[in-house]
């Protein structure tokens, strides 16, 4: 239920195992958070619990053409996470040590090395952490490509089908759509993104979520100078330049209404993002902004997703609440769901993402 990147990846992997699968998407696949996010494909900077999943997902990104028939414009440009001041450098050093233990090598760069390697970066930045295996891709292509691949693999991917009722009875799950379609299934996957907690709540699970609307800005094309994807401790901005030359950056939270699916960019955030972008990469100043956008995303209380079996209902599995950083994880989340369904287990450590961490059902 839900045709974002996670749902479409799950459909693809399940169909690949020969498990009959129907994907219901109320709009078009990959059109919500999966399609309008920043497009960073990064392992660096994640909550430590996410790193093992990100490493496994990175292996899928490397095989994207084989997996879905196109490369989704994935480019291994590296990710540069900037420090604002000396305390941030200490934080970056600690983080590098932590993730080295998990199998993710990072390179710490002081001011001089930074200036030499990335002369376009503001001299005010004291240092940064570089992850060479990170990169960027085109989020608009991802969900649709996985959806098409899932169909080719035999999944029944249905767009324009909104589930209006879902319940479990003795025979399994019964799902009814707005158009009157009724489906029976042994398993239900909740990959409904920003709407995921509503489905969880129908089955008595405690899973509060806040609706957020990360905002993006894109400029006209310019000579391709900024190679790595930029992030910064504190998350004030994320910025990348695509091969075509356009610079994309994001900052701030717009307005989103989960009930109407309407979302809107707040002009103040666009201006704030522009200020930070010009501060960090001064040569961008003459460029023209040609578009802004936002979308609807769900954010959990602890900013990491809900992944795993339901705490109340056998056969129900959740994967939602990616809190603005689910793009890189999407492919592996689908794989994990297919393992949970087919084998009852997964090799990825998903205990930190259990829905039960928010309290047992019925408790306050």
């Amino acid at each position: 239920m839900g045709g974002g990147l996670a749902g479409c990846s799950a459909a693809l992997h399940l169909a690949g195992r020969g498990i009959p699968t129907v994907l219901l998407e109320k709009g078009q696949v990959g059109a919500q958070a999966s399609g309008v996010n920043f497009g960073g494909v990064r392992q660096q900077g994640r909550h430590l619990a996410e790193v093992p999943l990100a490493l496994r997902s990175r292996a899928l990104w490397a095989r994207m053409a084989e997996l879905v028939g196109e490369d989704l414009e994935f480019r291994v440009t590296g990710h540069l996470r900037l420090a604002r001041h000396a305390e941030d450098m200490a934080l970056l050093e600690r983080y590098a040590a932590d993730v080295a233990a998990l199998g993710l090598p990072l390179q710490l760069l002081g001011g001089n090395a930074l200036r030499e390697r990335f002369p376009w970066l503001s001299p005010a930045i004291p240092g940064a952490s570089f992850c060479a295996s990170d990169g960027q891709a085109n989020p608009r292509l991802a969900g649709p490509a996985f959806g098409r691949a899932a169909r080719r693999a035999g999944a029944d991917v249905r767009e324009g089908e909104e589930a209006v009722a879902v319940e479990r009875d003795g025979r399994g799950f019964r799902t009814v759509t707005a158009a009157g379609l009724e489906l029976r299934s042994r398993v239900l996957l909740n990959t409904a993104g920003a709407w995921g907690n509503r489905i969880a709540e129908r089955f008595g699970e405690k899973a509060a979520m806040r609706t957020i609307a990360p905002q993006m800005v894109v400029t006209e094309p310019a000579p391709h100078v900024v190679q790595p994807v930029l992030g910064i401790v504190g998350g004030a901005i994320y910025l990348r330049q695509i091969e075509r030359g356009n610079v994309i950056f994001g900052t701030g939270d717009g307005i989103a209404d989960i009930a109407t699916t309407r979302h809107h960019v707040l002009p103040a955030n666009t201006l704030a993002g522009a200020a930070i972008a010009c501060h960090l990469v001064p040569h961008l100043a003459p460029l023209q902004i040609i578009r802004v956008w936002t979308g609807i995303e769900g954010e959990t209380e602890d900013f990491i997703p809900v992944i795993g079996p339901s705490g109340t209902t056998p056969g129900l599995f959740h994967a939602y609440g990616f809190s603005g950083h689910g793009f890189q994880l999407g492919p592996v989340v689908g794989l994990i769901l297919s393992e949970l369904v087919a084998e009852g287990r997964t090799e990825s450590p998903i205990a930190p993402f259990a829905i039960g961490r928010f309290g047992s059902p019925g408790s306050r």
Partner: protein, 460 residues
């Protein structure tokens, strides 16, 4: 209790007459205009120091132009005029503007959008060669810069603007190679009863045509454009004439346009919905007969309904009167009725004009696969078709996401119309079903440094 804050965007015929009505009611509206001097497109003023007199600039419209400019001059001290200012966004009853790299926010109680229109473009093979312009662009070059876009310009397209600009060029002494109209002459004859709702306009059209013929300019109707040809720049325009014979006219520039489409981006950002109008093949902002669009928003002129300058003047005044009435300030009911009658007559004329000069959708739908459709991003017609047929894009915004149609600096203005028709035809769906490219801020490109300067203390 202070006066309601009224903001008008656009100082063409609609904006000027709206401002006039607000001032007469005792208000001081803010009038925002991208141009440095009022007049809009049709009554665009040349830069200071240019010596062409109004009669040369505006021809038969000279009297109207003079009156409009005089009306604005009389208002100057009683409005907050902001020329050279772009309104780039609107949100939460605040208009966001930029002028000379300085951003400003203009809160309003009522917003009157008089944003005008732009040419509809249909690409043709070779249209990206240097020397190919829109009719509007050719007109701006002449009026605002005193230059022609070429020494020997071929005019291609359909609609009254085609003949007007060709006439203006010939009158100014520029070489007019030919006027090539895709609409068969018979349609004009059949539409005559409807066109006679405004006999003066019919007479004007006939006059322009007569003057062109008298000057020896070949005028062909019912043509099918084939290609703009040349090495490194346009040297000839190839077309099939009404009988289907291949013809070629040598030229060093082409000015093309197939009617106008309203600039609706600000209205859309302000929350206005768009509805598809089939006879005109336009997505028009929803508003009532007086121009009310709800939530303090009013629309007038070509930015709401294509109607030309006279209709724009009436609509501007009408929208202002409606707004004044809504604000609880006196409004003349009889005048409202009179203006509505005028506009209804204009609308009847407009329908007949559409029938006389229809948008040749088949030329757009049938573009060869290898013709560039989106110039900014280099997307071909074939790629747009593939987005529909192979990548399941059922509407244009999805096609944009997948193949970048409309993602360039023109923000879909040039490619949007043809894009809709190519996609719809490929899918075998009605044009209305594939939608229109959604408006996003900024309405026109906005400089990053200017935006940054408006948020100087943003913490990292």
């Amino acid at each position: 209790m202070s006066d309601p804050r009224v903001v008008i965007v656009g100082a063409g015929p609609a904006g000027v007459r709206a401002a006039e009505a607000f001032v007469a009611a005792g208000l001081r509206p803010v009038v925002i205009d991208e141009a440095d001097a009022a007049g809009g497109q049709i009554y665009r003023r040349p830069p200071a120091g240019f010596a062409r007199p109004p009669s040369a600039l505006y021809g038969l419209e000279a009297g109207k132009a003079r009156r409009l400019h005089a009306a604005f001059a009389a208002l100057r001290d009683r409005i907050d005029h902001r020329p050279g200012t772009l309104a780039w966004n609107v949100w939460d009853r605040v208009l966001h503007t930029v002028r000379d790299g300085v951003l400003a926010q203009v809160p309003y109680d009522a917003l009157v959008l008089c944003t005008g229109a732009m040419d509809r473009v249909i690409p043709l093979p070779g249209w990206t060669l240097p020397g190919v312009f829109t009719l509007g662009g050719a007109q701006v070059a002449l009026k605002a810069q005193g230059c022609a876009v070429g020494r020997r310009v071929a005019f291609l397209g359909t609609g009254p603007l085609l003949y007007l600009v060709a006439h203006q060029y010939r009158k100014a002494g520029a070489g007019v190679a030919a006027v090539l109209d895709t609409s068969p002459y018979g349609l004009r004859v059949r539409s005559l009863p409807g066109l006679l709702a405004l006999p003066a306009l019919v007479a004007k059209g006939l006059w322009y045509e007569a003057r062109l013929r008298a000057a020896g300019v070949p005028i062909r109707t019912g043509v099918t454009p084939l290609a703009a040809a040349g090495e490194g720049a346009v040297a000839a325009l190839e077309y099939a004439d009404g009988a289907g014979a291949r013809r070629r006219v040598s030229c060093d520039a082409v000015a093309l346009g197939y009617g106008l489409k309203p600039e609706t981006q600000l209205a859309e950002l302000a929350g206005c919905r768009l509805a598809y109008d089939e006879p005109q093949d336009l997505w028009l902002p929803e508003c009532d007969a007086l121009g009310r669009a709800g939530n303090g928003l009013y629309l007038a002129g070509d930015g709401a309904r294509i109607g030309g300058a006279d209709a724009a003047e009436a609509a501007g005044r009408l929208a202002a009167l409606a707004c004044l009435g809504d604000l609880g300030l006196a409004a003349d009911g009889a005048e409202v009725l009179r203006l509505r009658r005028r506009l209804r007559r204009q609308a009847r004329f407009r329908l007949a004009l559409e029938a006389a000069f229809p948008f040749p959708a088949s030329h757009a739908a049938g573009l060869p696969d290898d013709v560039v459709l989106c110039r900014c991003e280099g997307v071909t017609a074939g790629q747009v078709r593939a987005a529909g047929l192979e990548k399941e894009a059922a509407e244009v915004n999805r096609a944009k996401a997948l193949v970048r149609l409309g993602m360039g600096r023109c923000q879909g203005r040039v490619c949007g119309t043809a894009g809709r028709h190519v996609l719809a035809a490929a899918l075998g769906r009605p044009v209305a079903a594939v939608g229109q490219l959604r408006a996003q801020a900024p309405v026109k490109p906005l400089n990053l440094a200017a935006a940054a300067a408006a948020a100087p203390d943003t913490p990292l």
